[in-house]
């Protein structure tokens, strides 16, 4: 019988009611009395020197309140980078300034030059057209390898070149890896691109800055995954507003996928302008603005070599990756191709020697940062593609080759500095073979072939590091922040509970799943527990939601705080029951004395805490409210095995996804319905990357996919019903819930199986010269590969 309350129940989401009735409160729904509107004038060239900005005609336009340019931000801090990488030679990465509004130069299409504040948005837009801007065109660097050639135009004049860092990991292993590869029985080499993507949450970014002169307080309403991070970065490093005078609110947020982690110029601008103008200032991104100002994702060019011995055991992996940073360093950009990518290169396999080299490059493109999976999809893609290629070269079954090399003993210390606590990779592969009906594939292929279609099967595994992250470890790796999280459990006098959490929910369903945990621990109904999130004035300092960390880190903080509540409540119950605290048991919302029929209800204890007439005041304080900060001891390591079946039309090169199966191990599960939904969404994004999505620049740095007319988002008829399973559960050993996190798995695990399936289909049709197709495997690319 499935549970209907607490941990493990597929409780329907309470937040759905407001979203389904139009009662959600997204940032663009926030309107402050007297607000003005801002429109940003953005660069339409990729690289140039601003020789003139004349705003005089625009200032005379109707409704214009004030026009800001880079001059207004001289001496004001630029946007900070939150992660410093040290290169192979021990030097710090290059860290150029990132002004709020362009100072002297524009460095990518979309770089903001001026901001027009007006009484209406239409008037702001009209006035922006009257601003005279002269830009002296400079040659743009777009291709990463070309950007590193001597004589290439420099994105930042004050840097020696366009190389941000040249990172080696683990540098001490390099010689041994080189030796193992030179002596290997077989080496498979693959060069590939991990295509640049745009996260595209359906809600574009919005910022509303407000200012109260009465108490010198600023408020920013913003589309953020982590309001406290924004408050700290913007307050301390950009605008110099002390945190007690700055409130950041992220109300309902319409999807994030990483791109709403970062601190953006528009947030700083609206907060700054509201202080200057003493009135609220609102900015709502258009979709095209989003394409040229939201941090992009991926964009790696990689060469990977996999060495095997004569028995097909993996002996070494060597990679060389060029990672695009774009024109500026976005908040966490340097960490993505390094610590979130290099540390995952062991995957699910016991390869003893690994060396990863990453060259991060500045180009005249939009900054690149974390997008769902962030580094881990890039690692998984190259590893699982090269394994498939090796299997084909060696003439062995790709599943058998994987199984042979699986890590089977835990804990397992990889050669890339992480220790997996638990996992059972053969079990997830067994489950995958069952739910994907791998045995039935041959018959399905024969049926497709009867219709003149090619059918391919692609399989891959993945491992990810979630629950980001142990603060002392990430500090050593260059993070300029801790990565704990926090929860305050406030029990009200009549027994209902408000839990203030540092994690932010923007689709993950925390308002439903987090109460399940508290309700389970106290033995009360979930409906008695509410979650409060997203407002820095209401919640403890938490680091927010990304890296599949919410339940593993913030959920653990919530458990710790609830444990404190239980401990104190037991003291109160012992007093009320005139018993020893050690004898008090809590079950189903009742405190009882062990071995007796004496008990007192949850609500009686909570009331006593707030009406302490009969209360142990000499021992404990009144009230029932506890806070816990939780800093994880390790990352968590979800894993899984995925299978994709495609049908390929040899006439057109069009690939359709016929079946997709995902067997995941997320450790313990709080709400199975929500977990399945998270996987579904990740799969669609991974399938989108593999077949449809591509953020493309031309050689002059023009962004040629800046709307949904040009950037192919997955639609309902691009994907099938998925078969997902998370019954393989090896609980995390170091957090109190045994949870691992599930938000990114689908996006990490799906692209390689799609491309593996496409290659398999082509080989079945006699196109065995095709060993690789870069994503997205569009009909034109597939057709060209077939006929190339």
């Amino acid at each position: 019988m499935p549970k209907d309350n607490g941990i493990g129940a597929s409780t329907k989401r309470r937040e759905d009611v407001r979203f389904l009735t139009g009662a959600g409160n997204y940032t663009d729904d926030v309107n402050v009395y007297g607000q003005a509107y801002v429109h940003f004038l953005r660069s339409d060239v990729a690289h140039g020197r601003i020789s003139k900005i004349d705003t005089s005609a625009a200032e005379a336009m109707p409704g214009v309140v004030r026009i800001f340019t880079g001059k207004d931000f001289e001496g004001i801090g630029g946007l900070p980078c939150g992660w410093q990488v040290t290169d192979r030679h021990g030097a710090a990465m290059k860290e150029p300034g990132h002004p709020v509004l362009a100072q002297g130069k524009v460095r990518h299409v979309g770089d903001p030059i001026a901001a027009v504040v007006a009484e209406s948005l239409a008037e702001a837009r009209d006035a922006a057209e009257a601003i005279e801007v002269e830009i002296e065109d400079l040659p743009a660097v777009v291709d990463m390898k070309a950007a590193l050639e001597s004589g290439a135009a420099k994105v930042h004049d004050d840097l020696d070149d366009n190389l941000c860092y040249d990172w080696g990991f683990v540098e001490e292993n390099k010689e041994a890896v080189d030796k193992a590869i030179s002596e290997a029985a077989h080496v498979t080499t693959l060069e590939l691109k991990n295509n640049r993507l745009v996260a595209n949450p359906m809600e574009p970014r919005v910022a509303v800055g407000d200012y109260s002169a009465a108490n010198d307080e600023s408020t920013l309403f913003t589309t953020s995954q982590n309001p406290h991070v924004i408050r700290l970065l913007m307050g301390a490093f950009v605008l110099g507003i002390p945190e007690h005078k700055l409130r950041v609110v992220a109300p309902d947020v319409g999807g994030g996928f990483g791109t709403k982690i970062f601190h953006y110029a528009e947030e700083a601008f609206c907060t700054f302008a509201a202080r200057q103008l003493k009135r609220a200032v609102k900015w709502t991104s258009t979709r095209s603005e989003a394409f040229m100002s939201d941090a992009h994702g991926r964009d790696h060019v990689t060469k990977i070599e996999l060495a095997l011995d004569a028995d097909n055991n993996f002996t070494a992996i060597r990679t060389e990756t060029y990672a695009n940073m774009g024109a500026y360093l976005s908040t966490f950009a340097p960490s993505v191709p390094t610590w979130l990518h290099g540390t995952l290169m062991a995957g699910n396999y016991k390869t003893p020697l690994i060396y990863v080299n990453v060259k991060a490059v500045f180009t005249n493109t939009v900054p690149v940062d974390a997008y769902r999976g962030a580094g881990r999809p890039e690692a998984t893609y190259q590893l699982e593609r090269v394994i498939d290629k090796a299997a084909r070269e060696l003439g062995v079954d790709p599943i058998a080759l994987r199984r042979q090399n699986f890590i089977t003993e835990f804990p397992y210390a990889t050669p890339v500095a992480v220790e997996y606590d638990t996992g059972d990779y053969p079990a997830t592969m067994d489950k995958l073979e069952e739910i994907a009906d791998i045995k039935g594939f041959a018959a399905r292929r024969a049926e497709s072939e009867k219709r003149g279609k090619l059918r391919g099967l692609g399989v891959n595994c993945y491992i990810e590091a979630c629950g980001i992250a142990p603060s002392n470890l990430v500090g050593q790796l260059g993070a300029r922040a801790g990565l704990y999280d926090a929860a305050t459990v406030r029990v009200n006098a009549t027994g209902s509970i408000s839990v203030m959490v540092g994690a932010h929910s923007h689709g993950q369903g925390h308002e439903t799943s987090f109460p399940q945990v508290v309700a389970e621990m106290l033995g009360i109904d979930e409906s008695m527990v509410d979650i409060v999130h997203g407002d820095s004035s209401k919640i403890p300092f938490g680091m927010g939601t990304y890296g599949s960390r919410s339940i593993a880190v913030c959920g653990s903080a919530m458990v710790r705080a609830t444990e404190k509540i239980i401990n104190k409540a037991k003291k109160i119950a012992a007093h009320l029951l005139e018993a020893s605290e050690a004898d008090i048991e809590l079950k189903d919302g009742q405190f009882s004395v062990a071995g007796t029929d004496k008990s007192v209800a949850w609500g009686d204890v909570t009331l006593a805490a707030y009406v302490p007439h009969n209360y142990p005041l000499e021992d404990i304080e009144p009230g029932l409210e506890e806070t816990a900060f939780y800093d994880p001891a390790n990352f968590t390591y979800p894993s899984g095995a995925y299978a994709c079946e495609v049908e390929l039309d040899p006439e057109t090169g069009k690939v359709t996804i016929e079946r997709f199966a995902a067997a995941d191990d997320f450790g313990n599960i709080i709400n199975p319905m929500i977990v399945s939904g998270q996987v579904h969404g990740g799969l669609a994004q991974g399938i989108g990357q593999a077949l449809l999505e591509d953020c493309a620049y031309d050689e002059t740095g023009q962004l040629i996919s800046a709307s949904y007319m040009d950037y192919a988002m997955p639609r309902a008829d691009d994907v099938p019903f998925y078969a997902v399973d998370h019954s393989c559960q090896t609980p995390c050993t170091h957090n109190p819930l045994g949870v691992k996190g599930c938000g990114e798995a689908g996006a990490i695990g799906s692209p390689p199986s799609v491309i593996n399936a496409v290659i398999d289909a082509l080989h079945s049709g006699g196109h065995s010269h095709v060993t690789h197709i870069d994503m997205p495997a569009s009909p034109s690319r597939v057709w060209a590969a077939m006929h190339g």
Binding site: F19, L20, T21, E203, G681, Y708, P714, F721
Partner: protein, 161 residues
């Protein structure tokens, strides 16, 4: 500025708009009916779908002035008279057909239009009809299930959890 009048969710409303004011702006800004969302600039995403005289329309594709005298229904007008979720809304909640909720109003409005013209759509028909509604969260699995369930079909046999 010109005056427009229409009926929205059964109530007569009017307001002063510019010629360039879109219906979606009129709904969101003049009437403060913020359930209708704007997700793109090119009429691709469908977050702004409303019903105008019974037809599903992207409210970013028509001027407010063009809706003069029309009967407009938005997501705020979809619940049952007692305020409870209607069949489609309830199916979306039952089958976890939404995550961040931003595309959801448009999805519900499109689903209602689909079921009006095709009361028992197949999976392929649902997917085809939703061509103009983009969701980034759900991978569509549970949206398709929810719409088929709302039409009275037993989705337990059609798709896994």
């Amino acid at each position: 500025m010109t005056k427009v009048s229409m009926t929205v969710n059964g109530k007569s409303v009017s307001g002063e708009v510019e010629g360039r004011t879109l219906l979606v702006q009129f709904l969101r800004e003049n009437l403060r009916l913020t359930g209708t969302h704007v997700g793109c600039d090119t009429s691709q995403c469908g977050a702004c779908v409303v019903h105008v005289d019974g037809e599903a329309v992207k409210a970013c594709t028509m001027f407010a002035g063009e809706a003069e005298g029309a009967q407009v229904t938005t997501i705020e007008g979809m619940a049952n008279a007692d305020g409870s979720l209607n069949t489609i809304q309830q199916a979306f909640q039952d089958h976890h057909g939404l995550q961040c909720g931003f595309c959801t109003p448009g999805m519900v409005m499109s689903a209602a239009a689909l079921l009006k013209e095709n009361p028992q759509p197949s999976e392929a028909e649902v997917r085809d009809y939703l061509e103009g509604n983009i969701c980034r969260c759900t991978g569509y699995h549970n949206i398709v299930k929810a719409i088929m369930a709302a039409s009275g079909q037993d989705v337990g046999k059609i798709a896994a959890e």
